[in-house]
Point group: C3
Chain length 476, copies 3
Amino acid sequence: MRTWRKVGLALASALGLWIAFGGTAFAQDELTTAELAVALDTLWLLVAAFLVFFMQAGFAMLTAGLTRSKNTTNILMKNLMDFVMCSIAFWAIGWGLAYGASAGGFIGTDQFFLGDASEEGSVPVLASWLFQVVFAGTAATIVAGAMTERTKFTAYLAYSFLISLFIYPVVVYWVWSGAGWLNTYSGNTVDSWGFTDFAGSTVVHSVGGWAALMGAIILGPRLGKYGPDGKPRAIRGHNMSLVFLGVFILWLGWFGFNPGSQLAIASQDNANAVALIAVTTNLAAAAGAIGALITSWMKYGKPDMGQTLNGVLAGLVAITAGCAYVTPLSAIIIGLIAGPLVAFGAEWLDALKIDDPVGAVPVHLICGIWGTLAVGLFASIPGNTGTTGLFFGGGTTLLVSQLVGVVVVGLWTAVTAGTVFFLLKVTIGLRVSAAEEEAGLDIGEHGSVAYPDLLPMPEAETIPVPASNVSRASAQ
Amino acid sequence: MRTWRKVGLALASALGLWIAFGGTAFAQDELTTAELAVALDTLWLLVAAFLVFFMQAGFAMLTAGLTRSKNTTNILMKNLMDFVMCSIAFWAIGWGLAYGASAGGFIGTDQFFLGDASEEGSVPVLASWLFQVVFAGTAATIVAGAMTERTKFTAYLAYSFLISLFIYPVVVYWVWSGAGWLNTYSGNTVDSWGFTDFAGSTVVHSVGGWAALMGAIILGPRLGKYGPDGKPRAIRGHNMSLVFLGVFILWLGWFGFNPGSQLAIASQDNANAVALIAVTTNLAAAAGAIGALITSWMKYGKPDMGQTLNGVLAGLVAITAGCAYVTPLSAIIIGLIAGPLVAFGAEWLDALKIDDPVGAVPVHLICGIWGTLAVGLFASIPGNTGTTGLFFGGGTTLLVSQLVGVVVVGLWTAVTAGTVFFLLKVTIGLRVSAAEEEAGLDIGEHGSVAYPDLLPMPEAETIPVPASNVSRASAQ
Amino acid sequence: MRTWRKVGLALASALGLWIAFGGTAFAQDELTTAELAVALDTLWLLVAAFLVFFMQAGFAMLTAGLTRSKNTTNILMKNLMDFVMCSIAFWAIGWGLAYGASAGGFIGTDQFFLGDASEEGSVPVLASWLFQVVFAGTAATIVAGAMTERTKFTAYLAYSFLISLFIYPVVVYWVWSGAGWLNTYSGNTVDSWGFTDFAGSTVVHSVGGWAALMGAIILGPRLGKYGPDGKPRAIRGHNMSLVFLGVFILWLGWFGFNPGSQLAIASQDNANAVALIAVTTNLAAAAGAIGALITSWMKYGKPDMGQTLNGVLAGLVAITAGCAYVTPLSAIIIGLIAGPLVAFGAEWLDALKIDDPVGAVPVHLICGIWGTLAVGLFASIPGNTGTTGLFFGGGTTLLVSQLVGVVVVGLWTAVTAGTVFFLLKVTIGLRVSAAEEEAGLDIGEHGSVAYPDLLPMPEAETIPVPASNVSRASAQ
């Protein structure tokens, strides 16, 4: 909106000419290539952050579509509020815990409230913050899926604030801060531990997945999910168009999630790495779809769209840890294996009577673990991981590192998230009443319905209805 | 699609090497950093423009979702056509009025039909045009929301052409051209008037909001909106999933709208500014949601999703004027206050019997005014505004400037838009018949319905139906 | 996720300073402007690729919305799987055929399985691959629209694999490889043949359109589409909100499709070209909408949204060949003519009893041909095409080149795609049974429905239903 820039550029150009022809030899330009590189990296990081931000809408469409229309407003509202709570929590505390300075290697201790961190000559801290906050929001929102159709809105608000405040940031510090005990590095040398998770199969997806698992267990299954004979019953989602749209928004967002995690693009090496990551990401997604398609076809006799779409997500989650370290062919293999894992993972959960309405645990936890371990098998670019994987001559060193990271992060998350859910259960309560669950959480929690033209609104006359979903604030 | 580039690069590299080792000292590269900066800024401006363009889809989903399914086709069609009309009007006339050269300070007078404006050494004029046309389209489309469910399609076509042709461009000239009477500046020095609106709380959102208000007043409320007792009645929107999707598309688009308004990224200072703007934008959105959530909870006893989503938009509109000048904490405060403003603003309108079906006036006008004034309170980066705000030691100078700008732009828009709507009313008519409004504008204006499988099509047999919404052109 | 970058940058800066003040004159920076240009071009190409990828979701929403809800799952599944199959086919074979080295000028013969192609000093091959694979996916998915509501899922899988494997790549080699017989060039000089298709009106859209036409002919019309009197009957699409969203996602994606096809942005000339392309693209889309709006208004007495939205796509397809070579005014004229072509094209098809449920042939084939020929009329930038068009003093040379290209590519695609469809028809079968078509392909092909809450599920009890569209894998 300013012409300042133009004027500035004109001045800079004039100055540049003056210097070039009359000034000293080494100040020939106002802009150095180092400064341009900072600007280019900033642009890249921000664009990637915008794409990852949009994944919030993808998760919301996916989750809402895979569940019943009587709970749609509630699901959307939870997806909205978990990113909202995350933005505030990660601004105040989370970022400081994750990326603040620390001597101990366990937790960051400064930069709270985004204080005092900008530096010349590097990507602005605020750009890094934006990129990180959308990752934190992803971890938070994964949980919503496994807990849909029965969780109290207030309890979910509290939980989503806490995961972004400390559960997730502590894991980030351990793995990604550069000073954490699971992976300390300086320059390009990784220390001997070397747990390697490029873009977050474990740090983001498994953390979300473990929390989702604990939530689903502590909540218990939805009414009617398991029959008197103990067998699971199909509860159909209400809108497959939303599910499809959600998955494609997520796939799009993953092009920010994985390639953006290179954190830089302004050199030949970085550009090469980013391009490789984009390709491995896409191929793993495609292979995941094929793996799940074949599995569902063989299991049910027909190709199932819900399963195949979850296969896409399975491939994406699985490639996230190793996207920068594996070849395109390895990416296809990793994705192909992730596809069936989602299908069978859902069966394992049902066998344990754990009700995960959208398959968040199979997608994010099981494939998150698979993808993290797969780095120990398929990594073929030693410069980044310190060593190569088992199938590329590196032995089991990396695989063991990966296994330790998976277990440690799993324990941390399961214990802390489990404690949070347990405390919420015994205080404000975690689950709505059976009557509310039956009528739908839209009416009970929000006094509203998502599709008043299309669906009857049960009990709308008997429950006080706020002016939701209508011309704003025109309470009758 | 070309390998030209590769060949060119190879030649350039060869040439570069030759020069580096054999040529003169200062011509060492084909590409100067100044030229790269132009390219980088162009890329940034275009990507931002693409994001802002996508906001058109966001507004359409939001507006359609918040209204009844019998008017969906009509709403979508208006949202489509206002950007279409805007593209043509802003190509022919609007851009020239907004950014053409002028001596008087009131209106631009050249560059019509995009003629004759390209310059070496700066971002291409066509890139700037694209960035500006999507802003013009935003101002135009805001109006659609307040006038839904009762406006004639032809009248809306005429109006949306005129706002992009001259109402909006004149305001842009006054505030953003660099030579306008509300804000003249050269280099980084702002003249004494100094009305400051970084990305358009006033220039875009209030202009849209004032026009929306005039339209809603001149149209009158929808049938049945106010009962015989004068009390407003709830008229429910038909699809909250669309509303949610619309708001998240808008939130995404705002990452182009605000950060893109820096117009440049290719220096450390610009990169820092862009990152700050992205962060303040995101935090204000989150805070707006919290403010609206709490307000709706207190007012209605339950957390309302429609209100909370409008709270997101409220925060985004409010931070738009000051996003480059305030701290993250100030952004949160600005957003927090915007949230309740939307909820109470809707009540004020209802008290005046002004029917704004989607809350366009509270969101874009009231929060646009709030955000513009907030610059006079919270601005803490004096380099850009000439002075700081009241809370940061700058006294009331800036606040007074802001107030004058708000009033002047409000008067201009209310008078011109009001005149346009009045003239349309007394000539071709502004409102559909009561019978058509009752049956839905989809049937009356377009001979179609949006969801034929899901909803009965009233009177479909009695009204001639074109081959809309069907396999193209297969008229029965 | 790494702080490596920071450390690297710090080191680079330190090194830079050391060199600047103590080193040799010409090594003053680690990063050269040539290397930055590579990085900037890579970023641009990847962002464009992401936008084009998202067009897959646009096509899916468009196609699903324009058809009946009983076929929604099947349509979405085909749209998903054609990009999945394309990703694998184009990785293994397609890329090598399209861009591999060859002496003969007819087909590429190396770089299969993405082998052995990376080079220093240029955009990474993998970035180019990603940009090309999303184009291949576009060509593949166009076909889905014309064949909806009656095609066997297995046959479609096979077809979509084959088009990406060889039908499309061969055309790419002929036109875009730089060594193909339809357009050989080196540097900026085009050889005498000079068939010119900047971003794919012919290479992508007509290829998809010809295949769609052959598929629709060989399949035959949907049951009930043509009455006993031979007159076409309207079969309404089920969701105009999805159609609108789809078109806007496509419009957004086209900002990657056309401007991205410049393949570079890192110089003043490239930045100028990219900006021009973005503007001509947008203006042609707007003009296409206006052309179709007026046509539908005159034909049916009311402005039709389905037609107008297809007018947007018509304008976009038509400008694709010439977007870099024409003025903004020419773009408007090209779009304005494309609008009516879609409306009348649909009538021509109906007269021939060719049932194309979503208008894929009028949009992609007819407007693809129009846009390609329009280059021969309106091209006014001789540097890129070797000559100007008929209306800009270049005579008929270019027009003849264009005509030859249109005919040759049309013959190739019609013959190969026709053969594939014919072979599928006589082997595994191309069309579902009449009973399945009546009940909907969602039940028959996938044992599922897209909207179980909203619509009755006919025969759901009598057909074995897999755990689709429900909490994953909970087979009853």
